[in-house]
């Protein structure tokens, strides 16, 4: 059952006041403008045992994503498509407020929103990942571990998952005497587009991008918008207990397109070296 809860991070009244004052002047407490993103760092192929991996730092938020590619049975109703399974876990290392245990609703939402961004954009052409039609398909696991949490985990996790997938190597499997055998060769994954998510939050009447956890503790509402390489929208999720006006949503969507293109260019440049 979903229940309203107090914010885990308590922001003092004075600090909150400072934040509002700064935002009313178009600035934020860390010196950024309202629609500035934090510095993005991507390191590829840091886990040699994975078929693809990436460590993403978005400000102080840090996420590692690993891709493992195996073979298995297709999903029911999707017999001629490869299977894509994405998970996310906020590790107990991530903040003093996280306890080990089964995922809470926020972590489930995080994994599902990141998954939706990748799945709905059809980033990976799953039609090309079939070994024996209807029987055996490639199964791509993307597992994301949040190492350090400082806000905007949606975007940090999404960038990590997308970078890990884009830079992964798919092992080529073959059928020999009804058994799946790895040929020892690898190929590039069938990438069709690069989905980029941009998260905005509303504090008072201002809408700011890429919030820190302190800013998230003061937010009224949140919206995560994913665009593909064409600049089309592929997934949206509004979150938190406040509301947006229609104008704010349309403006956030426009911003997500422009900022998404910047991040996409950067992500492409960084993943090219890998």
């Amino acid at each position: 059952m979903s229940s309203s809860k107090r914010s885990t991070i308590i922001v003092e009244h004075l600090r909150r006041q400072q934040m509002w004052d700064a935002i009313s002047k178009g600035k934020r407490l860390d010196g950024r403008n309202l629609d500035d993103l934090r510095p993005l760092e991507i390191e590829l192929d840091i886990i040699k045992k994975a078929n693809g991996s990436a460590k993403v730092k978005l400000g102080n938020s840090e996420v590692i994503a690993g891709v493992k590619i195996e073979t298995g049975e297709p999903f029911e109703g999707l017999e001629n498509k490869g299977a894509l399974i994405l998970s996310a876990e906020v590790l107990p290392t991530a903040s003093p407020y996280i306890e080990p245990g089964p995922p809470d609703e926020e972590t489930i939402e995080l994994a599902r929103v990141v998954d939706r961004g990748i799945r709905e954009s059809e980033m990976i052409d799953l039609d090309k990942l079939v070994l024996v039609p209807g029987k055996i398909v490639y199964t791509i696991f993307v597992d994301c571990s949040i190492i350090n949490a400082d806000g905007n985990l949606f975007d940090a996790t999404s960038y990590a998952a997308v970078s890990a997938l884009a830079s992964s190597k798919v092992p080529i499997f073959e059928m020999q005497d009804d058994k799946v055998v790895h040929t020892g060769n690898n190929q590039d994954p069938p990438i069709t587009t690069i989905p980029i998510s941009i998260t905005a939050i509303r504090i008072g009447e201002a809408v700011i991008l890429d919030p820190t956890s302190e800013e998230e503790a003061c937010m009224n509402a949140r919206i995560t918008i994913t665009t593909n390489s064409n600049g089309d929208y592929t997934a949206i999720q509004k979150g938190s207990t406040g509301a947006f006006t229609i104008e704010q949503i349309k403006k956030a969507a426009e911003t997500a397109r422009i900022k998404g293109e910047e991040v996409r260019a950067k992500l492409k440049e960084l993943t090219k070296d890998g």
Binding site: M1, K5, R112, Q237, A243, I249
Partner: protein, 246 residues
């Protein structure tokens, strides 16, 4: 998503005979669960959903209580017999996510600060699912909350729009959800003009996105009128009939 057949025919009619701007038939009955403080039953196309509200009441366990406002708890659940293949009754990840977005869609309308240290529980049970069940659930839950006499800023009305055969259509049904191009559920407070839920899956370009948002909002306004009628029917129903007789 691969499309296998045309979902809109040459006359602009959809698989269930509706035009692109037409909602499915909606019927709301208020006060159907006798034990609950407030309740509503909604038939939204083939969706059949019951929503019940208990509270404000004491919070159990007590440590969950908030000193300055009321705790809102929300459960969206699908009955095992509500879908084509039996649904495992244990809450799925999808249901957990919907419970969360549903709570976040309702919370802006409620004056929770009026009931500190208390809890309001909203239970939404999908008895028969037909696409758009979260929208129908929010619509019913909002009426159940009003029926329970909870102080509210506005009623939350909810409706989806989406893309079928490259056309933006109102109120996606089950077939269109599975075979169509995009689905965008929206919840909206018509008087405050604020959006409390917005999700999208599927691909929309910029113009389609704006059209889709506008269409969904229009749909919410129609849903709101039906919600208002349902409440009026319960609380002033006999009076209006009396007036007509006189």
């Amino acid at each position: 998503m691969t499309q296998t057949r045309n979902l809109i025919d040459e006359n602009g009619r959809r698989t269930d005979g509706r035009t692109t701007d037409e909602l499915r038939e909606i019927k709301i009955t208020v006060g159907v669960v006798k034990n609950a403080d407030g309740s509503a039953f909604i038939e939204f196309g083939k969706n059949k959903i019951v929503a019940a509200v208990y509270g404000p009441r004491e919070v159990h366990p007590k440590h969950m209580a908030l000193p300055d406002r009321c705790v809102l708890r929300c459960r969206y659940h699908m009955s095992p017999f509500s879908t084509d293949t039996r649904k495992n009754p244990a809450p799925s990840r999808r249901e957990i996510e919907i419970s969360k977005v549903m709570r976040e869609a309702l919370e802006p309308a409620l004056m929770l600060e009026d009931y500190p240290r208390a809890a309001i529980d909203v239970f939404v049970e999908v008895l028969q699912a037909d696409g758009g069940s979260r929208c129908a659930g929010i619509t019913a839950a909002s009426i159940a909350l009003a029926d329970a006499g909870i102080n509210m800023r506005d009623i939350v009305a909810s409706c989806a729009a989406g893309k079928v055969d490259e056309k933006i259509v109102l109120d996606i049904n089950d077939t269109e959800d599975k075979e169509g191009g995009a689905d965008m559920p929206v919840a909206y407070m018509p008087h405050l003009e604020q959006v409390t839920l917005l999700q999208l899956d599927g691909i929309l370009n910029h113009e389609q996105f704006n059209e889709c948002v506008d269409k969904a909002i229009k749909g919410c306004e129609i849903v709101y009128e039906i919600q208002r009628q349902a409440l009026m029917q319960k609380y002033f129903g006999n009076e209006t009939e009396l007036k007509e007789e006189q």
